[in-house]
Amino acid sequence: MLFDIRNLAIRLGDTPVLHGLNFSLPSGGITGIIGANGSGKTTLLRALAGLLAPETGEVLHEGLHVTRMAARDRARRIAMLPQSALAPPGLTVRQLVARGRTPWLRPFLPMTPTDRAAVERALEAVGLTELAGRAVESLSGGQRQRAWIALVLAQESGTILLDEPLNFLDLPHQAELVALLKRLGEKRSVVMILHDLTIAARVCDQVLSLNEGRLVAFGPPEAVLAPEPLRRTFGIGFDCITLPDGRPVVLPAGL
C-alpha cells in the first residue's frame, strides 16, 4: 500500500479538522481529493506529507510512519507542492527546478552530474527546456505552474502530492497540465486536491471525498462522482451524465 491511514484525527490549534479517517491508497495512478472549502483537504494532504503531527492515529507511507522518518529520507520518498507556492525573486526556471534536488544534495557541496541530469529530465518532462534560462517572473501562469511541477519532479520521489495544481489556469492550460499529470501517474503515485469535479472524473483512477473532516466516499470516479455521494460531500444536489467512455460529467443541480 502507498498510504495506510488509520484513525487519523488532526487539530489545528483548538479547531478539530480531521475526525478519525481510515483508508488505504494503492500504489501508482492518480488519486483525487475533493470536498467543499474547509472540509480538511489541505490538512489531509499536509498530513500525508508528514508536515502535521496527528492528534491520534497514524499515517503510514509504504509501511513507515511519515512523522517518524528523518526529514531528508521523507523528502526523497514524498514530494508535495503547496497551493500558493511563491517563487523567490531573481531565479531562472532552471534554478527554481534545481531547488527540488534539495533532499539529495550533500551539505555545502554543489549539485552533482546526477542532480543536473534530474533537473534536465524534469524540465524536459514539462516541456520547459527551451525556457529554462528565463526568469521565473517572466513566465505566464501556465508555464509557471509547469515549472513548479518540474521542481517536484526533480525531487524524484515515488509519491507526489499536489494541492490544486490546476488553479488559476485557463482551459487550454488545464488540458495541457492534465495530460502531463496523466503521464506522471503512469510512473509515480500522484495524490492531488481538485476543485473541478469533471476534470477529477477524467484524470483520477480513484477519488476520495471529504465533508467536514470525515471521509464520505472513496473509490473509482464513477462511484464517488454520483449524485448521492456528491450530495453528502457538498450538501447540494448534482446532475450527473455519463459520457460514452464511462466517465461522469457533473454539474450542481438547478444551475
Binding site: 531528508r72 521523507r74 534539495t102 517572473e137
Partner: protein, 314 residues
Amino acid sequence: MRLAGLILLLLLLALLSLSAGRTWLAPPALVDALMDPEGAGRMIWRLRMPRLLVGLAAGAAFGLSGLVFQTLLRNPLASPDVIGVTQSAAFGAVAALLLGGPVVLGAWSGGLAAIAILGWLAAHPRLGVEPRAVVLQGLALAIFAGAGTEALILQMTDSSAGMAMTWLSGTLNGAGWPEVVRSLWLAPMLLPLLLAGRALDRLELGDDLVRALGVRVGLLRAGLGLLAALTAAGAVSLCGPMGFVALAAGPVARVIARGRPAPVAAMLTGAAFVTLADILARAIAPAALLPTGLYTALIGAPVLILPVRRMARS
C-alpha cells in the same frame, strides 16, 4: 563578477580610509607609512589601522545580521536595528557600563533577551513564529529598549553621559587594537552565517514546500536567528548601535546578487558601508569627530531607497 567588483571597492575604501583624517596621506606616503610601523607609520598603525579593522568587522557583522533577519522574517525592513535586537544589545551594553561589567557580555545578554522576548511574544500555537508579528512587536521592543537606555544614561554623570550619547549614535572613536582583538569573537558567529546561503535561499520557498524538501525549518530558523542576534550584539559592543548599516546592507546586497540572499555580498556591503561612513566622518569635519553612525544614517537613507524602488518596480 559583481562580487569581485564589491571586493575591489572595499579594498579601495580601506586604502582611502587609511589615508583619510586630519592629515591626508598621498598614495606614496601611505605606502611608506605602511612599510614603517615604528617610524613614519606610527600614527597609521596605532590609530587608523585598528579603527579600519574594527569598522570592517562591525560593518560585516551588521550587514550579515541584517540580511539573515530580513530573509528569516521575509521582510526587507526587518533588520536587527528595526526589530529591537540592536537597541536591546545597546541597553545591555550601557547597563554593563554602569554596573562595571564587560560590555560584550552586556550586549550579548541584551541581544539574546531580545530574541527570546520576540520568539516568545510572536510564537503562534499553530503556525509557529509569525513573521509579521515579530516585526511589529520588534518595533515596540526597539522603542522600549531605547527608553530604558535613556533612563540608564540619566543615572550617569554629565561627562560619561555625553560619551554614552556619542556611543549610542555609533562611533569608531577610540577603537584600538584591544577592540580589534575583541572583534575576533565575532568569527565563530560569522562563519556559520556565511555558510548559510543555501539555507536562506531555501527558506524563501515558503515553509510547507521547504519542509517537504526535507529541510528542518524550525531548527534552522531558531539557529540562524540566534546567531544573527549574537552577531549584531557583538557589533554593537564594538562600535555602538550604528544605524542603517544592517537595514541597508541586505537590500543592497540583494541587488548585487541579482535578488538572491547572498551572505558574502551582505557582509562585504556592510563593511564597505561603515568604512565609507568613517571616511566621511574624518574628512568632512576632522576636528569635530562626529560619530560615524551619523554618516551611516546620512548615506544609508538614499542607498536604501534605491534598491527598494528597484524591488518595487520588478
